[in-house]
Subunit: 103 residues, 2 copies
DNA sequence: GCCCTATTTCGATGTCTATCGAAATAATGC
DNA sequence: GCATTATTTCGATAGACATCGAAATAGGGC
Protein backbone atom coordinates (compact mmCIF):
# COMPACT_ATOMS: atom_id res chain seq x y z
CA UNK A 1 0.00 0.00 0.00
CA UNK A 2 1.27 3.42 -0.89
CA UNK A 3 1.54 6.11 1.73
CA UNK A 4 -0.96 8.30 -0.13
CA UNK A 5 -3.61 5.63 -0.17
CA UNK A 6 -3.10 4.85 3.50
CA UNK A 7 -3.28 8.55 4.32
CA UNK A 8 -6.53 8.88 2.36
CA UNK A 9 -8.09 6.03 4.28
CA UNK A 10 -6.85 7.32 7.61
CA UNK A 11 -8.20 10.74 6.75
CA UNK A 12 -11.54 9.16 5.89
CA UNK A 13 -11.67 7.50 9.29
CA UNK A 14 -10.24 10.55 11.00
CA UNK A 15 -13.55 12.32 11.37
CA UNK A 16 -15.75 11.47 14.34
CA UNK A 17 -18.90 11.25 12.26
CA UNK A 18 -17.34 8.97 9.69
CA UNK A 19 -15.70 6.81 12.34
CA UNK A 20 -19.08 6.40 14.01
CA UNK A 21 -20.57 5.45 10.67
CA UNK A 22 -17.87 2.93 10.02
CA UNK A 23 -18.13 1.49 13.50
CA UNK A 24 -21.88 1.10 13.16
CA UNK A 25 -21.39 -0.70 9.87
CA UNK A 26 -18.82 -3.07 11.32
CA UNK A 27 -21.15 -3.85 14.19
CA UNK A 28 -23.99 -4.45 11.79
CA UNK A 29 -21.96 -7.22 10.22
CA UNK A 30 -22.83 -8.82 6.93
CA UNK A 31 -26.39 -7.53 6.96
CA UNK A 32 -25.11 -3.99 6.75
CA UNK A 33 -27.30 -0.97 7.38
CA UNK A 34 -29.49 1.13 5.14
CA UNK A 35 -28.56 4.78 4.78
CA UNK A 36 -31.72 5.73 6.61
CA UNK A 37 -30.93 3.42 9.50
CA UNK A 38 -27.50 4.98 9.76
CA UNK A 39 -29.09 8.38 9.83
CA UNK A 40 -31.34 7.37 12.69
CA UNK A 41 -28.41 5.93 14.62
CA UNK A 42 -26.13 8.89 14.14
CA UNK A 43 -28.55 11.74 13.96
CA UNK A 44 -27.28 14.03 11.23
CA UNK A 45 -28.85 15.48 8.12
CA UNK A 46 -29.31 13.02 5.29
CA UNK A 47 -27.26 15.16 2.96
CA UNK A 48 -24.37 15.28 5.41
CA UNK A 49 -24.46 11.53 5.88
CA UNK A 50 -24.53 11.01 2.15
CA UNK A 51 -21.45 13.18 1.82
CA UNK A 52 -19.56 11.19 4.45
CA UNK A 53 -20.63 7.88 2.97
CA UNK A 54 -19.37 9.04 -0.37
CA UNK A 55 -15.95 9.68 1.11
CA UNK A 56 -15.84 6.31 2.79
CA UNK A 57 -16.84 4.61 -0.44
CA UNK A 58 -14.22 6.50 -2.44
CA UNK A 59 -11.49 5.14 -0.18
CA UNK A 60 -12.84 1.63 -0.46
CA UNK A 61 -13.65 1.29 3.23
CA UNK A 62 -17.38 0.96 2.65
CA UNK A 63 -19.46 -0.63 -0.09
CA UNK A 64 -23.08 -0.12 -1.08
CA UNK A 65 -25.67 -2.39 -2.61
CA UNK A 66 -29.10 -1.38 -3.70
CA UNK A 67 -32.11 -3.32 -2.44
CA UNK A 68 -35.19 -1.87 -4.08
CA UNK A 69 -35.41 1.74 -2.93
CA UNK A 70 -32.97 1.43 -0.07
CA UNK A 71 -29.20 1.38 -0.23
CA UNK A 72 -27.48 -1.10 2.04
CA UNK A 73 -24.05 -0.06 3.28
CA UNK A 74 -21.43 -2.51 4.49
CA UNK A 75 -17.97 -2.20 5.95
CA UNK A 76 -15.39 -3.53 3.53
CA UNK A 77 -13.29 -5.59 5.91
CA UNK A 78 -10.40 -6.43 3.58
CA UNK A 79 -9.72 -2.73 3.08
CA UNK A 80 -9.47 -2.16 6.82
CA UNK A 81 -7.38 -5.26 7.20
CA UNK A 82 -4.98 -3.93 4.59
CA UNK A 83 -4.84 -0.56 6.29
CA UNK A 84 -4.15 -2.02 9.71
CA UNK A 85 -1.50 -4.27 8.17
CA UNK A 86 0.11 -1.22 6.63
CA UNK A 87 0.18 0.55 9.96
CA UNK A 88 1.61 -2.42 11.76
CA UNK A 89 4.11 -3.43 9.12
CA UNK A 90 5.25 -0.04 7.90
CA UNK A 91 4.75 2.16 10.87
CA UNK A 92 4.65 0.15 14.03
CA UNK A 93 6.78 -2.90 13.53
CA UNK A 94 9.15 -2.24 16.39
CA UNK A 95 6.49 -1.62 18.94
CA UNK A 96 4.07 -4.34 18.05
CA UNK A 97 6.30 -7.17 16.86
CA UNK A 98 9.77 -6.75 18.33
CA UNK A 99 10.91 -10.18 17.15
CA UNK A 100 10.12 -9.35 13.53
CA UNK A 101 12.08 -6.15 13.62
CA UNK A 102 13.32 -5.26 10.16
CA UNK A 103 16.76 -4.05 9.18
CA UNK B 1 -10.41 4.76 23.86
CA UNK B 2 -13.15 7.17 22.91
CA UNK B 3 -14.19 7.56 19.34
CA UNK B 4 -13.21 11.23 19.37
CA UNK B 5 -9.68 10.50 20.45
CA UNK B 6 -9.28 7.75 17.89
CA UNK B 7 -10.63 10.06 15.20
CA UNK B 8 -8.16 12.76 16.22
CA UNK B 9 -5.25 10.38 15.93
CA UNK B 10 -6.47 8.98 12.63
CA UNK B 11 -6.90 12.49 11.34
CA UNK B 12 -3.36 13.29 12.42
CA UNK B 13 -2.04 10.31 10.47
CA UNK B 14 -4.42 10.97 7.60
CA UNK B 15 -2.21 13.50 5.90
CA UNK B 16 0.52 12.29 3.56
CA UNK B 17 3.12 14.62 4.99
CA UNK B 18 2.39 13.66 8.58
CA UNK B 19 2.24 9.98 7.74
CA UNK B 20 5.66 10.26 6.12
CA UNK B 21 6.95 12.04 9.21
CA UNK B 22 5.56 9.37 11.46
CA UNK B 23 6.89 6.59 9.28
CA UNK B 24 10.34 8.14 9.27
CA UNK B 25 10.27 8.38 13.04
CA UNK B 26 9.21 4.77 13.44
CA UNK B 27 12.00 3.67 11.16
CA UNK B 28 14.47 5.79 13.08
CA UNK B 29 13.66 3.74 16.15
CA UNK B 30 14.70 4.71 19.65
CA UNK B 31 17.29 7.19 18.44
CA UNK B 32 14.59 9.32 16.89
CA UNK B 33 15.29 12.11 14.46
CA UNK B 34 16.01 15.79 14.92
CA UNK B 35 13.52 18.22 13.39
CA UNK B 36 16.18 19.32 10.94
CA UNK B 37 16.86 15.76 9.87
CA UNK B 38 13.18 15.23 9.28
CA UNK B 39 13.09 18.36 7.19
CA UNK B 40 15.94 17.08 5.03
CA UNK B 41 14.22 13.73 4.59
CA UNK B 42 10.84 15.11 3.71
CA UNK B 43 11.72 18.35 2.02
CA UNK B 44 9.22 20.90 3.26
CA UNK B 45 9.55 24.29 4.88
CA UNK B 46 10.64 24.22 8.50
CA UNK B 47 7.56 26.10 9.57
CA UNK B 48 5.29 23.61 7.83
CA UNK B 49 7.08 20.70 9.42
CA UNK B 50 6.83 22.34 12.80
CA UNK B 51 3.11 22.72 12.33
CA UNK B 52 2.67 19.06 11.45
CA UNK B 53 4.86 17.92 14.31
CA UNK B 54 2.77 19.98 16.66
CA UNK B 55 -0.33 18.16 15.53
CA UNK B 56 1.28 14.78 15.94
CA UNK B 57 2.46 15.72 19.41
CA UNK B 58 -0.97 16.99 20.43
CA UNK B 59 -2.49 13.62 19.64
CA UNK B 60 0.23 11.83 21.57
CA UNK B 61 1.60 9.96 18.58
CA UNK B 62 4.97 11.68 18.73
CA UNK B 63 7.15 12.91 21.57
CA UNK B 64 9.99 15.39 21.63
CA UNK B 65 13.07 15.69 23.78
CA UNK B 66 15.54 18.50 23.67
CA UNK B 67 19.23 17.73 23.27
CA UNK B 68 21.12 20.99 23.43
CA UNK B 69 19.90 23.10 20.53
CA UNK B 70 18.25 20.28 18.65
CA UNK B 71 14.89 18.68 19.30
CA UNK B 72 14.76 14.93 18.96
CA UNK B 73 11.42 13.53 17.83
CA UNK B 74 10.34 9.98 18.48
CA UNK B 75 7.33 7.88 17.59
CA UNK B 76 5.30 7.09 20.66
CA UNK B 77 4.67 3.42 20.07
CA UNK B 78 2.16 2.79 22.86
CA UNK B 79 -0.14 5.41 21.38
CA UNK B 80 -0.10 3.72 17.99
CA UNK B 81 -0.54 0.36 19.64
CA UNK B 82 -3.61 1.66 21.43
CA UNK B 83 -4.99 3.11 18.22
CA UNK B 84 -4.49 -0.08 16.25
CA UNK B 85 -6.06 -2.03 19.09
CA UNK B 86 -9.04 0.28 18.98
CA UNK B 87 -9.43 -0.25 15.26
CA UNK B 88 -9.14 -3.99 15.55
CA UNK B 89 -11.28 -4.39 18.64
CA UNK B 90 -13.96 -1.80 17.98
CA UNK B 91 -14.06 -1.60 14.25
CA UNK B 92 -12.63 -4.68 12.69
CA UNK B 93 -13.20 -7.57 15.04
CA UNK B 94 -15.18 -9.72 12.66
CA UNK B 95 -12.74 -9.42 9.84
CA UNK B 96 -9.49 -9.76 11.70
CA UNK B 97 -10.26 -12.13 14.55
CA UNK B 98 -13.29 -14.23 13.69
CA UNK B 99 -12.84 -16.54 16.68
CA UNK B 100 -13.07 -13.65 19.10
CA UNK B 101 -16.24 -12.36 17.55
CA UNK B 102 -18.29 -10.43 20.08
CA UNK B 103 -22.00 -10.72 20.70
C1' DG C 1 -48.22 7.42 -15.71
C1' DC C 2 -48.29 8.89 -10.87
C1' DC C 3 -47.18 8.74 -6.09
C1' DC C 4 -44.30 7.37 -2.28
C1' DT C 5 -40.11 6.48 -0.02
C1' DA C 6 -35.10 6.66 0.01
C1' DT C 7 -31.18 8.92 -1.16
C1' DT C 8 -28.24 12.15 -3.60
C1' DT C 9 -26.99 16.54 -5.61
C1' DC C 10 -26.94 21.53 -5.35
C1' DG C 11 -25.86 25.86 -3.34
C1' DA C 12 -24.41 28.38 0.42
C1' DT C 13 -21.79 29.33 4.61
C1' DG C 14 -18.50 29.23 8.28
C1' DT C 15 -14.56 26.83 9.89
C1' DC C 16 -10.34 24.43 9.46
C1' DT C 17 -6.03 23.09 7.00
C1' DA C 18 -1.61 23.26 4.53
C1' DT C 19 1.67 25.99 3.01
C1' DC C 20 5.16 29.55 2.79
C1' DG C 21 8.60 33.32 4.18
C1' DA C 22 9.95 36.36 7.65
C1' DA C 23 10.61 37.36 12.21
C1' DA C 24 11.03 35.78 16.93
C1' DT C 25 12.62 32.57 20.44
C1' DA C 26 15.69 28.94 22.61
C1' DA C 27 20.04 26.94 23.81
C1' DT C 28 24.80 26.74 23.51
C1' DG C 29 29.74 28.06 22.98
C1' DC C 30 32.98 31.41 23.02
C1' DG D 1 26.55 39.18 26.11
C1' DC D 2 27.06 38.01 21.31
C1' DA D 3 27.09 35.14 17.39
C1' DT D 4 25.43 30.79 15.71
C1' DT D 5 22.44 27.13 14.96
C1' DA D 6 17.86 24.99 15.56
C1' DT D 7 13.21 25.50 15.83
C1' DT D 8 8.85 27.86 16.55
C1' DT D 9 5.53 31.55 16.07
C1' DC D 10 3.32 35.01 13.20
C1' DG D 11 0.74 36.60 9.36
C1' DA D 12 -1.12 35.73 5.10
C1' DT D 13 -3.34 33.04 1.47
C1' DA D 14 -5.56 29.52 -1.21
C1' DG D 15 -7.99 25.54 -0.94
C1' DA D 16 -10.59 21.87 1.44
C1' DC D 17 -14.17 20.34 4.71
C1' DA D 18 -18.55 19.82 7.47
C1' DT D 19 -22.88 21.13 7.69
C1' DC D 20 -27.56 22.33 6.54
C1' DG D 21 -32.07 22.78 3.85
C1' DA D 22 -34.15 22.57 -0.50
C1' DA D 23 -34.56 20.60 -4.74
C1' DA D 24 -33.64 16.75 -7.81
C1' DT D 25 -33.24 11.84 -8.83
C1' DA D 26 -34.02 6.71 -8.37
C1' DG D 27 -36.78 2.70 -7.84
C1' DG D 28 -40.95 0.37 -7.18
C1' DG D 29 -46.05 -0.24 -6.33
C1' DC D 30 -50.55 0.92 -7.62
Amino acid sequence: MKVEKAAKQLEALGNPTRLKVYRALVRAGEDGLAVGQLQDKIGIAASTLSHHLHRLILTGLVTQERQATTLICRANYPAMDELVSYLVDECCLDACRPDERAA
